[in-house]
Protein backbone atom coordinates (compact mmCIF):
# COMPACT_ATOMS: atom_id res chain seq x y z
CA UNK A 1 0.00 0.00 0.00
CA UNK A 2 1.19 3.47 -0.84
CA UNK A 3 1.41 5.58 2.29
CA UNK A 4 1.14 8.92 0.52
CA UNK A 5 -1.68 8.48 -1.98
CA UNK A 6 -4.66 6.24 -2.59
CA UNK A 7 -5.44 5.14 -6.13
CA UNK A 8 -8.29 7.61 -6.48
CA UNK A 9 -6.27 10.37 -4.88
CA UNK A 10 -3.50 9.81 -7.38
CA UNK A 11 -5.98 9.91 -10.25
CA UNK A 12 -7.56 13.14 -8.96
CA UNK A 13 -4.21 14.82 -8.52
CA UNK A 14 -3.11 13.74 -11.98
CA UNK A 15 -6.23 15.38 -13.42
CA UNK A 16 -5.50 18.53 -11.38
CA UNK A 17 -1.93 18.60 -12.62
CA UNK A 18 -3.13 18.20 -16.20
CA UNK A 19 -5.69 20.99 -15.93
CA UNK A 20 -3.16 23.30 -14.31
CA UNK A 21 -0.72 22.69 -17.15
CA UNK A 22 -3.48 23.45 -19.65
CA UNK A 23 -4.34 26.64 -17.73
CA UNK A 24 -0.68 27.69 -17.72
CA UNK A 25 0.01 27.00 -21.38
CA UNK A 26 -3.32 27.93 -23.00
CA UNK A 27 -2.71 31.71 -22.95
CA UNK A 28 0.73 31.15 -24.46
CA UNK A 29 -0.79 28.92 -27.14
CA UNK A 30 -3.42 31.56 -27.87
CA UNK A 31 -0.72 34.18 -28.40
CA UNK A 32 1.03 31.75 -30.73
CA UNK A 33 -2.13 31.22 -32.79
CA UNK A 34 -2.99 34.90 -33.07
CA UNK A 35 0.54 35.87 -34.02
CA UNK A 36 -0.19 34.18 -37.37
CA UNK A 37 -3.72 35.57 -37.66
CA UNK A 38 -4.33 37.96 -40.53
CA UNK A 39 -6.32 40.58 -38.65
CA UNK A 40 -5.53 43.78 -36.82
CA UNK A 41 -7.60 42.67 -33.81
CA UNK A 42 -6.92 39.41 -32.01
CA UNK A 43 -10.45 37.99 -32.10
CA UNK A 44 -12.44 35.05 -33.40
CA UNK A 45 -13.14 33.87 -36.03
CA UNK A 46 -9.59 33.43 -37.29
CA UNK A 47 -9.11 35.23 -40.58
CA UNK A 48 -6.27 33.47 -42.34
CA UNK A 49 -2.56 32.82 -42.03
CA UNK A 50 0.02 35.57 -42.31
CA UNK A 51 3.64 36.27 -41.46
CA UNK A 52 3.00 40.01 -41.75
CA UNK A 53 3.36 40.69 -38.02
CA UNK A 54 6.69 38.91 -37.77
CA UNK A 55 7.91 40.84 -40.79
CA UNK A 56 6.70 44.11 -39.23
CA UNK A 57 8.51 43.56 -35.98
CA UNK A 58 11.71 42.58 -37.73
CA UNK A 59 11.61 45.87 -39.63
CA UNK A 60 10.54 48.04 -36.67
CA UNK A 61 13.69 49.94 -35.60
CA UNK A 62 12.25 51.07 -32.24
CA UNK A 63 11.40 47.55 -31.24
CA UNK A 64 14.76 46.18 -32.32
CA UNK A 65 16.51 49.02 -30.52
CA UNK A 66 14.61 48.22 -27.34
CA UNK A 67 15.52 44.53 -27.62
CA UNK A 68 19.19 45.42 -28.08
CA UNK A 69 19.14 47.81 -25.12
CA UNK A 70 17.58 45.15 -22.92
CA UNK A 71 20.08 42.53 -24.06
CA UNK A 72 22.97 44.88 -23.27
CA UNK A 73 21.57 45.76 -19.82
CA UNK A 74 20.84 42.11 -19.05
CA UNK A 75 24.34 41.03 -20.11
CA UNK A 76 26.09 43.69 -18.00
CA UNK A 77 23.89 43.28 -14.92
CA UNK A 78 23.96 39.47 -14.96
CA UNK A 79 27.76 39.27 -15.23
CA UNK A 80 28.17 41.83 -12.44
CA UNK A 81 25.56 40.17 -10.22
CA UNK A 82 27.10 36.71 -10.67
CA UNK A 83 30.63 38.01 -9.96
CA UNK A 84 29.40 39.63 -6.75
CA UNK A 85 27.31 36.55 -5.97
CA UNK A 86 30.31 34.22 -6.28
CA UNK A 87 32.38 36.41 -3.95
CA UNK A 88 29.61 36.62 -1.38
CA UNK A 89 28.85 32.88 -1.59
CA UNK A 90 32.53 31.97 -1.08
CA UNK A 91 32.56 34.09 2.07
CA UNK A 92 29.24 32.76 3.35
CA UNK A 93 30.06 29.08 2.80
CA UNK A 94 33.79 28.85 3.40
CA UNK A 95 34.56 31.50 5.99
CA UNK A 96 33.79 31.87 9.66
CA UNK A 97 33.16 35.41 10.84
CA UNK A 98 30.99 37.29 13.29
CA UNK A 99 27.68 38.73 12.17
CA UNK A 100 27.26 36.19 9.40
CA UNK A 101 23.54 36.00 10.01
CA UNK A 102 23.10 39.75 9.71
CA UNK A 103 25.27 39.91 6.59
CA UNK A 104 23.48 37.12 4.81
CA UNK A 105 20.18 38.78 5.72
CA UNK A 106 21.48 41.99 4.13
CA UNK A 107 22.66 40.14 1.02
CA UNK A 108 19.28 38.45 0.58
CA UNK A 109 17.13 41.43 1.59
CA UNK A 110 16.52 42.70 -1.97
CA UNK A 111 14.41 39.53 -2.40
CA UNK A 112 11.70 40.88 -0.15
CA UNK A 113 11.45 44.54 -1.13
CA UNK A 114 8.42 45.41 -3.25
CA UNK A 115 9.83 46.56 -6.58
CA UNK A 116 7.79 49.75 -6.59
CA UNK A 117 9.50 50.77 -3.34
CA UNK A 118 12.97 49.91 -4.64
CA UNK A 119 12.23 51.70 -7.91
CA UNK A 120 11.28 54.98 -6.27
CA UNK A 121 14.17 54.65 -3.79
CA UNK A 122 16.64 54.46 -6.65
CA UNK A 123 14.87 57.31 -8.44
CA UNK A 124 15.20 59.56 -5.39
CA UNK A 125 18.77 58.39 -4.75
CA UNK A 126 19.98 59.13 -8.28
CA UNK A 127 18.13 62.42 -8.18
CA UNK A 128 19.67 63.39 -4.84
CA UNK A 129 23.25 62.58 -5.82
CA UNK A 130 22.79 64.05 -9.28
CA UNK A 131 23.29 60.99 -11.47
CA UNK A 132 21.24 61.31 -14.68
CA UNK A 133 19.00 58.37 -15.55
CA UNK A 134 20.48 56.14 -18.23
CA UNK A 135 21.30 52.55 -19.11
CA UNK A 136 23.79 52.54 -16.24
CA UNK A 137 21.14 53.34 -13.64
CA UNK A 138 18.99 50.48 -14.91
CA UNK A 139 22.00 48.12 -14.75
CA UNK A 140 22.62 49.14 -11.13
CA UNK A 141 19.00 48.45 -10.20
CA UNK A 142 19.11 45.06 -11.88
CA UNK A 143 22.38 44.04 -10.24
CA UNK A 144 20.83 44.68 -6.82
CA UNK A 145 17.69 42.66 -7.51
CA UNK A 146 19.49 39.72 -9.13
CA UNK A 147 22.31 39.45 -6.58
CA UNK A 148 20.29 37.47 -4.00
CA UNK A 149 19.11 35.01 -6.66
CA UNK A 150 22.70 34.31 -7.70
CA UNK A 151 23.66 33.70 -4.06
CA UNK A 152 20.69 31.37 -3.59
CA UNK A 153 21.81 29.32 -6.60
CA UNK A 154 25.56 29.25 -5.89
CA UNK A 155 25.59 28.67 -2.11
CA UNK A 156 23.95 25.20 -2.17
CA UNK A 157 26.34 24.00 -4.90
CA UNK A 158 29.35 25.39 -3.08
CA UNK A 159 28.39 23.74 0.20
CA UNK A 160 28.17 20.36 -1.58
CA UNK A 161 31.82 20.59 -2.56
CA UNK A 162 34.22 18.89 -0.20
CA UNK A 163 36.41 21.55 1.44
CA UNK A 164 39.27 19.04 1.60
CA UNK A 165 39.69 19.42 -2.17
CA UNK A 166 40.65 23.04 -1.62
CA UNK A 167 42.91 22.15 1.29
CA UNK A 168 44.61 19.53 -0.86
CA UNK A 169 45.20 22.12 -3.59
CA UNK A 170 46.67 24.52 -1.01
CA UNK A 171 48.91 21.77 0.38
CA UNK A 172 50.18 21.11 -3.12
CA UNK A 173 51.25 24.74 -3.35
CA UNK A 174 48.38 26.38 -5.16
CA UNK A 175 47.66 29.96 -4.22
CA UNK A 176 44.11 30.85 -3.19
CA UNK A 177 43.53 32.40 -6.59
CA UNK A 178 44.82 29.27 -8.33
CA UNK A 179 42.68 27.08 -6.08
CA UNK A 180 39.66 29.13 -7.00
CA UNK A 181 40.44 29.15 -10.71
CA UNK A 182 41.33 25.46 -11.13
CA UNK A 183 39.36 23.70 -8.38
CA UNK A 184 36.40 25.70 -7.10
CA UNK A 185 35.28 27.48 -10.25
CA UNK A 186 35.03 24.33 -12.42
CA UNK A 187 33.09 22.58 -9.67
CA UNK A 188 30.56 25.39 -9.23
CA UNK A 189 30.34 26.11 -12.97
CA UNK A 190 26.88 24.55 -13.43
CA UNK A 191 25.50 26.78 -10.67
CA UNK A 192 27.32 29.81 -12.08
CA UNK A 193 25.72 29.22 -15.47
CA UNK A 194 22.24 28.86 -13.94
CA UNK A 195 22.81 32.01 -11.90
CA UNK A 196 23.85 33.89 -15.04
CA UNK A 197 20.75 32.70 -16.80
CA UNK A 198 18.44 33.63 -13.95
CA UNK A 199 20.02 37.06 -13.60
CA UNK A 200 19.86 37.62 -17.36
CA UNK A 201 16.19 36.68 -17.68
CA UNK A 202 15.30 38.66 -14.54
CA UNK A 203 16.88 41.76 -16.00
CA UNK A 204 15.62 41.25 -19.54
CA UNK A 205 12.06 40.98 -18.25
CA UNK A 206 12.16 43.61 -15.53
CA UNK A 207 9.72 46.48 -15.87
CA UNK A 208 8.84 47.84 -12.42
CA UNK A 209 12.26 49.05 -11.25
CA UNK A 210 13.42 50.02 -14.74
CA UNK A 211 10.34 52.19 -15.28
CA UNK A 212 11.56 54.57 -12.57
CA UNK A 213 15.23 54.78 -13.49
CA UNK A 214 15.26 54.38 -17.27
CA UNK A 215 16.69 57.14 -19.42
CA UNK A 216 15.90 57.98 -23.01
CA UNK A 217 16.94 54.57 -24.38
CA UNK A 218 13.97 52.41 -23.47
CA UNK A 219 14.25 48.74 -22.59
CA UNK A 220 12.14 46.03 -24.18
CA UNK A 221 9.60 45.72 -21.30
CA UNK A 222 9.15 49.49 -21.29
CA UNK A 223 8.62 49.55 -25.04
CA UNK A 224 6.16 46.70 -24.65
CA UNK A 225 4.24 48.46 -21.90
CA UNK A 226 3.93 51.54 -24.09
CA UNK A 227 2.90 49.53 -27.13
CA UNK A 228 0.09 47.83 -25.21
CA UNK A 229 -1.79 51.12 -25.29
CA UNK A 230 -1.83 51.31 -29.10
CA UNK A 231 -4.11 48.64 -30.62
CA UNK A 232 -2.48 49.06 -34.03
CA UNK A 233 0.82 47.79 -32.63
CA UNK A 234 -0.75 44.86 -30.80
CA UNK A 235 -0.29 42.16 -33.50
CA UNK A 236 3.44 42.78 -33.91
CA UNK A 237 3.83 42.89 -30.14
CA UNK A 238 2.14 39.49 -29.99
CA UNK A 239 4.54 38.22 -32.64
CA UNK A 240 7.59 39.41 -30.74
CA UNK A 241 6.04 38.03 -27.55
CA UNK A 242 5.90 34.60 -29.12
CA UNK A 243 9.51 34.78 -30.28
CA UNK A 244 10.78 35.97 -26.89
CA UNK A 245 8.78 33.36 -25.00
CA UNK A 246 9.89 30.49 -27.18
CA UNK A 247 13.53 31.56 -27.11
CA UNK A 248 13.48 31.90 -23.31
CA UNK A 249 11.70 28.56 -22.89
CA UNK A 250 14.21 26.78 -25.10
CA UNK A 251 17.22 28.42 -23.45
CA UNK A 252 16.01 27.79 -19.91
CA UNK A 253 14.95 24.21 -20.47
CA UNK A 254 18.13 23.48 -22.39
CA UNK A 255 20.28 25.01 -19.66
CA UNK A 256 18.44 23.06 -16.97
CA UNK A 257 19.03 19.80 -18.82
CA UNK A 258 22.67 20.75 -19.33
CA UNK A 259 23.07 21.63 -15.66
CA UNK A 260 21.61 18.28 -14.58
CA UNK A 261 23.98 16.42 -16.89
CA UNK A 262 26.98 18.44 -15.71
CA UNK A 263 26.13 17.96 -12.03
CA UNK A 264 25.68 14.26 -12.53
CA UNK A 265 29.07 14.05 -14.22
CA UNK A 266 30.75 16.15 -11.51
CA UNK A 267 28.96 14.15 -8.84
CA UNK A 268 30.29 10.92 -10.36
CA UNK A 269 33.79 12.37 -10.49
CA UNK A 270 33.69 13.37 -6.83
CA UNK A 271 32.74 9.99 -5.44
Amino acid sequence: MDAALSKNGRRALRVLFGSLVVFLYAPIAILLIFSFNDSQLPSFPLSGFTLRWYHQFLTNPDLRGALETSALIAACSSVAAVALGVLASLALVRRRFGGKGALSALLLSPLVIPYVVFGISLLLFFHAVGIPRSIVTVVIGHVVISLPYTILVIVPRLSQIDATLEEAAADLGASRLQTFRWIVLPLIMPAVVSALLIAFTTSFDEYAVASFVVGTRVTFPIYLYGALRFPSRLPQVIAVAVVVMIVSLVVVVGAEIGRRAAERRLGAAET
Binding site: L24, I28, A91, P110, P114, V116, V144, Y207
Partner: protein, 307 residues
Protein backbone atom coordinates in the same frame (compact mmCIF):
# COMPACT_ATOMS: atom_id res chain seq x y z
CA UNK B 1 38.21 38.72 -9.35
CA UNK B 2 40.13 41.71 -7.99
CA UNK B 3 38.87 40.92 -4.50
CA UNK B 4 40.69 37.57 -4.65
CA UNK B 5 44.06 39.25 -5.22
CA UNK B 6 44.67 40.35 -1.60
CA UNK B 7 43.79 36.81 -0.60
CA UNK B 8 46.53 35.41 -2.80
CA UNK B 9 49.07 37.85 -1.37
CA UNK B 10 48.07 37.08 2.19
CA UNK B 11 48.91 33.39 1.87
CA UNK B 12 52.68 33.31 2.43
CA UNK B 13 52.57 35.61 5.44
CA UNK B 14 49.78 33.93 7.33
CA UNK B 15 50.67 30.30 6.72
CA UNK B 16 51.24 29.57 10.42
CA UNK B 17 47.67 29.76 11.70
CA UNK B 18 44.31 28.70 10.37
CA UNK B 19 42.93 32.13 11.13
CA UNK B 20 44.67 33.45 8.01
CA UNK B 21 41.60 32.33 6.11
CA UNK B 22 39.60 35.00 7.86
CA UNK B 23 41.95 37.68 6.56
CA UNK B 24 40.43 37.32 3.13
CA UNK B 25 36.83 37.51 4.24
CA UNK B 26 36.58 41.32 3.93
CA UNK B 27 38.09 40.99 0.48
CA UNK B 28 35.34 38.61 -0.56
CA UNK B 29 32.47 40.42 1.11
CA UNK B 30 33.65 43.96 0.48
CA UNK B 31 32.28 44.46 -3.01
CA UNK B 32 28.87 42.78 -2.63
CA UNK B 33 28.20 44.45 0.71
CA UNK B 34 29.36 47.86 -0.53
CA UNK B 35 27.13 47.48 -3.56
CA UNK B 36 24.09 46.87 -1.37
CA UNK B 37 24.99 49.61 1.11
CA UNK B 38 25.30 52.22 -1.60
CA UNK B 39 22.58 51.16 -4.01
CA UNK B 40 20.09 49.52 -1.68
CA UNK B 41 20.21 50.80 1.91
CA UNK B 42 21.31 54.32 1.06
CA UNK B 43 18.40 54.87 -1.39
CA UNK B 44 15.95 53.65 1.26
CA UNK B 45 17.45 56.11 3.74
CA UNK B 46 16.95 58.86 1.18
CA UNK B 47 13.29 57.89 0.86
CA UNK B 48 13.13 58.29 4.64
CA UNK B 49 14.60 61.76 4.30
CA UNK B 50 12.06 62.70 1.66
CA UNK B 51 9.21 61.36 3.77
CA UNK B 52 9.89 63.99 6.45
CA UNK B 53 10.74 66.64 3.87
CA UNK B 54 14.39 66.82 4.92
CA UNK B 55 15.30 66.71 1.25
CA UNK B 56 13.31 68.64 -1.20
CA UNK B 57 15.45 70.59 -3.58
CA UNK B 58 17.17 69.38 -6.71
CA UNK B 59 20.30 68.14 -4.96
CA UNK B 60 21.43 66.40 -1.84
CA UNK B 61 23.58 69.33 -0.77
CA UNK B 62 20.98 72.07 -1.18
CA UNK B 63 19.79 74.20 1.68
CA UNK B 64 18.40 72.52 4.77
CA UNK B 65 14.66 72.18 5.20
CA UNK B 66 12.49 72.09 8.22
CA UNK B 67 11.47 68.57 9.07
CA UNK B 68 7.77 67.87 8.94
CA UNK B 69 5.64 64.86 9.72
CA UNK B 70 2.77 66.16 7.61
CA UNK B 71 3.09 63.25 5.17
CA UNK B 72 2.88 60.67 7.94
CA UNK B 73 0.00 62.56 9.50
CA UNK B 74 -1.87 62.46 6.19
CA UNK B 75 -1.32 58.71 5.87
CA UNK B 76 -2.80 57.85 9.25
CA UNK B 77 -5.57 60.46 9.45
CA UNK B 78 -6.79 60.69 5.89
CA UNK B 79 -8.31 57.24 5.46
CA UNK B 80 -7.92 57.12 1.66
CA UNK B 81 -4.41 55.66 1.64
CA UNK B 82 -5.02 53.18 4.44
CA UNK B 83 -8.19 51.93 2.75
CA UNK B 84 -6.24 51.45 -0.46
CA UNK B 85 -3.53 49.66 1.47
CA UNK B 86 -6.08 47.35 3.06
CA UNK B 87 -7.55 46.64 -0.38
CA UNK B 88 -4.07 45.66 -1.61
CA UNK B 89 -3.52 43.45 1.42
CA UNK B 90 -6.84 41.68 0.85
CA UNK B 91 -6.13 41.22 -2.86
CA UNK B 92 -2.69 39.82 -2.10
CA UNK B 93 -4.10 37.47 0.52
CA UNK B 94 -6.69 36.17 -1.93
CA UNK B 95 -4.03 35.67 -4.61
CA UNK B 96 -1.60 33.98 -2.20
CA UNK B 97 -4.22 31.61 -0.81
CA UNK B 98 -5.50 30.63 -4.27
CA UNK B 99 -1.99 30.07 -5.54
CA UNK B 100 -0.82 28.01 -2.58
CA UNK B 101 -4.05 25.99 -2.55
CA UNK B 102 -3.61 25.11 -6.23
CA UNK B 103 0.13 24.57 -6.15
CA UNK B 104 0.23 22.43 -3.00
CA UNK B 105 -1.69 19.39 -4.32
CA UNK B 106 0.23 19.49 -7.57
CA UNK B 107 3.58 19.71 -5.78
CA UNK B 108 2.38 16.87 -3.52
CA UNK B 109 1.57 14.77 -6.56
CA UNK B 110 4.97 15.38 -8.12
CA UNK B 111 6.92 14.82 -4.92
CA UNK B 112 5.13 11.87 -3.37
CA UNK B 113 3.32 9.88 -6.05
CA UNK B 114 6.57 8.12 -6.94
CA UNK B 115 6.38 9.11 -10.57
CA UNK B 116 9.72 8.61 -12.26
CA UNK B 117 9.59 11.76 -14.33
CA UNK B 118 8.92 14.12 -11.44
CA UNK B 119 11.73 16.53 -12.34
CA UNK B 120 10.62 16.70 -15.95
CA UNK B 121 7.03 17.38 -14.88
CA UNK B 122 8.26 19.97 -12.39
CA UNK B 123 10.13 21.73 -15.18
CA UNK B 124 6.98 21.68 -17.30
CA UNK B 125 5.16 23.36 -14.43
CA UNK B 126 7.83 25.98 -13.75
CA UNK B 127 8.83 26.82 -17.32
CA UNK B 128 6.07 29.43 -17.88
CA UNK B 129 7.47 31.42 -14.97
CA UNK B 130 10.72 31.78 -16.85
CA UNK B 131 9.08 33.45 -19.82
CA UNK B 132 8.30 37.13 -19.76
CA UNK B 133 6.03 38.50 -17.05
CA UNK B 134 4.66 41.35 -19.16
CA UNK B 135 3.98 39.03 -22.06
CA UNK B 136 1.90 36.75 -19.89
CA UNK B 137 -0.12 39.78 -18.76
CA UNK B 138 -0.43 40.72 -22.43
CA UNK B 139 -1.84 37.27 -23.19
CA UNK B 140 -4.65 37.79 -20.69
CA UNK B 141 -5.33 41.28 -22.02
CA UNK B 142 -5.80 39.73 -25.45
CA UNK B 143 -8.03 36.99 -24.02
CA UNK B 144 -10.25 38.93 -21.64
CA UNK B 145 -11.19 42.10 -23.55
CA UNK B 146 -14.74 42.93 -24.62
CA UNK B 147 -13.66 42.24 -28.21
CA UNK B 148 -11.04 39.80 -27.00
CA UNK B 149 -10.43 36.17 -27.74
CA UNK B 150 -12.81 34.75 -25.15
CA UNK B 151 -15.76 37.02 -25.95
CA UNK B 152 -15.43 36.78 -29.71
CA UNK B 153 -15.13 33.02 -29.36
CA UNK B 154 -18.43 33.03 -27.46
CA UNK B 155 -20.05 35.23 -30.14
CA UNK B 156 -18.68 33.05 -32.90
CA UNK B 157 -19.99 29.86 -31.35
CA UNK B 158 -23.28 31.61 -30.56
CA UNK B 159 -23.09 31.13 -26.80
CA UNK B 160 -23.44 34.90 -26.28
CA UNK B 161 -24.65 37.57 -28.63
CA UNK B 162 -22.23 40.37 -29.60
CA UNK B 163 -24.54 42.86 -27.88
CA UNK B 164 -23.99 41.18 -24.53
CA UNK B 165 -20.33 40.40 -24.06
CA UNK B 166 -18.96 39.24 -20.72
CA UNK B 167 -17.92 42.78 -19.94
CA UNK B 168 -16.60 42.52 -16.42
CA UNK B 169 -13.67 40.35 -17.42
CA UNK B 170 -10.99 42.89 -18.21
CA UNK B 171 -10.32 46.05 -16.18
CA UNK B 172 -11.58 44.64 -12.90
CA UNK B 173 -10.28 43.33 -9.63
CA UNK B 174 -11.17 39.86 -10.88
CA UNK B 175 -8.76 40.29 -13.79
CA UNK B 176 -6.00 41.43 -11.43
CA UNK B 177 -6.46 38.39 -9.18
CA UNK B 178 -6.70 35.98 -12.11
CA UNK B 179 -3.59 37.29 -13.84
CA UNK B 180 -1.52 37.46 -10.66
CA UNK B 181 -2.52 33.93 -9.69
CA UNK B 182 -1.63 32.78 -13.20
CA UNK B 183 1.76 34.42 -12.92
CA UNK B 184 2.64 33.03 -9.48
CA UNK B 185 1.45 29.40 -9.61
CA UNK B 186 4.59 28.00 -11.31
CA UNK B 187 6.86 29.93 -8.98
CA UNK B 188 5.11 28.77 -5.83
CA UNK B 189 5.13 25.12 -6.81
CA UNK B 190 8.92 25.07 -6.42
CA UNK B 191 9.44 25.75 -2.67
CA UNK B 192 6.49 23.50 -1.80
CA UNK B 193 7.86 20.73 -3.98
CA UNK B 194 11.29 21.04 -2.38
CA UNK B 195 9.90 20.75 1.15
CA UNK B 196 7.72 17.76 0.21
CA UNK B 197 10.43 16.05 -1.79
CA UNK B 198 12.82 16.09 1.16
CA UNK B 199 10.21 14.46 3.37
CA UNK B 200 11.27 11.07 4.69
CA UNK B 201 8.65 8.68 3.32
CA UNK B 202 9.34 6.20 6.12
CA UNK B 203 7.59 8.65 8.45
CA UNK B 204 4.39 8.13 6.49
CA UNK B 205 4.82 4.37 6.53
CA UNK B 206 5.42 4.53 10.28
CA UNK B 207 2.27 6.61 10.74
CA UNK B 208 0.36 4.03 8.71
CA UNK B 209 1.79 1.15 10.74
CA UNK B 210 0.71 2.92 13.92
CA UNK B 211 -2.84 3.01 12.66
CA UNK B 212 -3.14 6.46 11.13
CA UNK B 213 -5.28 6.79 8.04
CA UNK B 214 -3.74 8.50 5.01
CA UNK B 215 -5.64 11.66 5.87
CA UNK B 216 -4.45 11.61 9.50
CA UNK B 217 -0.89 10.99 8.35
CA UNK B 218 -1.20 13.94 6.01
CA UNK B 219 -2.60 16.31 8.64
CA UNK B 220 -0.29 15.22 11.45
CA UNK B 221 2.93 14.47 9.57
CA UNK B 222 3.16 15.71 5.99
CA UNK B 223 1.47 19.08 6.37
CA UNK B 224 3.46 20.24 9.43
CA UNK B 225 6.73 19.10 7.86
CA UNK B 226 5.98 20.95 4.64
CA UNK B 227 4.96 24.17 6.40
CA UNK B 228 8.34 25.88 5.83
CA UNK B 229 7.84 25.48 2.08
CA UNK B 230 4.25 26.71 2.29
CA UNK B 231 5.19 29.76 4.36
CA UNK B 232 8.09 30.57 2.03
CA UNK B 233 5.76 30.24 -0.95
CA UNK B 234 3.16 32.44 0.71
CA UNK B 235 5.77 35.09 1.49
CA UNK B 236 7.19 35.04 -2.03
CA UNK B 237 3.75 35.71 -3.48
CA UNK B 238 2.41 38.08 -0.88
CA UNK B 239 5.34 40.50 -0.83
CA UNK B 240 5.55 41.33 -4.53
CA UNK B 241 1.77 41.31 -4.86
CA UNK B 242 1.05 43.75 -2.05
CA UNK B 243 3.17 46.36 -3.82
CA UNK B 244 2.16 45.31 -7.33
CA UNK B 245 1.36 48.10 -9.77
CA UNK B 246 2.14 46.75 -13.23
CA UNK B 247 -0.61 44.15 -13.55
CA UNK B 248 -3.29 46.41 -12.00
CA UNK B 249 -2.39 49.24 -14.35
CA UNK B 250 -2.64 46.92 -17.36
CA UNK B 251 -5.73 44.85 -16.53
CA UNK B 252 -7.19 46.44 -13.39
CA UNK B 253 -8.95 49.56 -14.61
CA UNK B 254 -10.27 51.76 -11.82
CA UNK B 255 -11.69 48.98 -9.65
CA UNK B 256 -8.37 47.15 -9.73
CA UNK B 257 -6.35 50.22 -8.72
CA UNK B 258 -4.08 49.25 -5.83
CA UNK B 259 -1.72 50.80 -3.30
CA UNK B 260 1.30 50.21 -5.56
CA UNK B 261 -0.40 52.21 -8.33
CA UNK B 262 -0.88 55.06 -5.89
CA UNK B 263 2.83 55.06 -5.05
CA UNK B 264 3.86 54.88 -8.70
CA UNK B 265 1.45 57.69 -9.62
CA UNK B 266 2.82 59.97 -6.92
CA UNK B 267 6.20 59.69 -8.65
CA UNK B 268 4.94 59.94 -12.22
CA UNK B 269 5.00 63.08 -14.28
CA UNK B 270 1.34 64.04 -13.78
CA UNK B 271 1.00 65.43 -10.25
CA UNK B 272 4.11 64.28 -8.45
CA UNK B 273 4.15 64.43 -4.66
CA UNK B 274 7.41 62.85 -3.61
CA UNK B 275 6.87 63.42 0.09
CA UNK B 276 3.55 61.58 0.28
CA UNK B 277 4.89 58.95 -2.09
CA UNK B 278 7.90 58.37 0.15
CA UNK B 279 5.66 58.02 3.19
CA UNK B 280 3.47 55.45 1.43
CA UNK B 281 6.53 53.53 0.20
CA UNK B 282 8.16 53.42 3.63
CA UNK B 283 4.93 52.31 5.27
CA UNK B 284 4.66 49.44 2.78
CA UNK B 285 8.30 48.54 3.31
CA UNK B 286 7.83 48.56 7.09
CA UNK B 287 4.83 46.23 6.95
CA UNK B 288 6.61 43.86 4.57
CA UNK B 289 9.77 43.85 6.71
CA UNK B 290 7.79 43.04 9.88
CA UNK B 291 5.93 40.26 8.09
CA UNK B 292 9.17 38.80 6.74
CA UNK B 293 10.83 38.84 10.15
CA UNK B 294 7.80 37.31 11.84
CA UNK B 295 7.47 34.52 9.29
CA UNK B 296 11.17 33.69 9.15
CA UNK B 297 11.10 33.42 12.97
CA UNK B 298 8.18 31.07 12.56
CA UNK B 299 10.14 29.02 10.04
CA UNK B 300 13.15 28.77 12.37
CA UNK B 301 10.93 27.71 15.27
CA UNK B 302 9.29 25.15 13.01
CA UNK B 303 12.66 23.75 11.98
CA UNK B 304 13.81 23.59 15.58
CA UNK B 305 10.63 21.79 16.60
CA UNK B 306 11.02 19.28 13.78
CA UNK B 307 14.42 18.22 15.05
Amino acid sequence: MSAEAPAAEATPRGRRTRSRIDLTTPGLLGLPVACLLVFFLCPIAIVGAYSVDALHGPSLFGEAHKLTLAGWHALFHDGVYLRLFWKSVKTSLIVSVIVVALAYPVAYYLALSGTKRKYVLLLVLIAPFLTSYLLRVLAWKVILGNRGVLNTFLFWTGVRSPDHPLSQLLYSRFAVILVLAYIWIPFVALPIFVSLDSLDRRLLEAAGDLGASRWQAFVRVTLPLSMPGVVAAFLFVFIPTVGEFVTPSLVGGTSGYLYGNQIADLFSTGYPDWQTGSVLALFLLGVVALLTIALTRFLRLGEAAAR
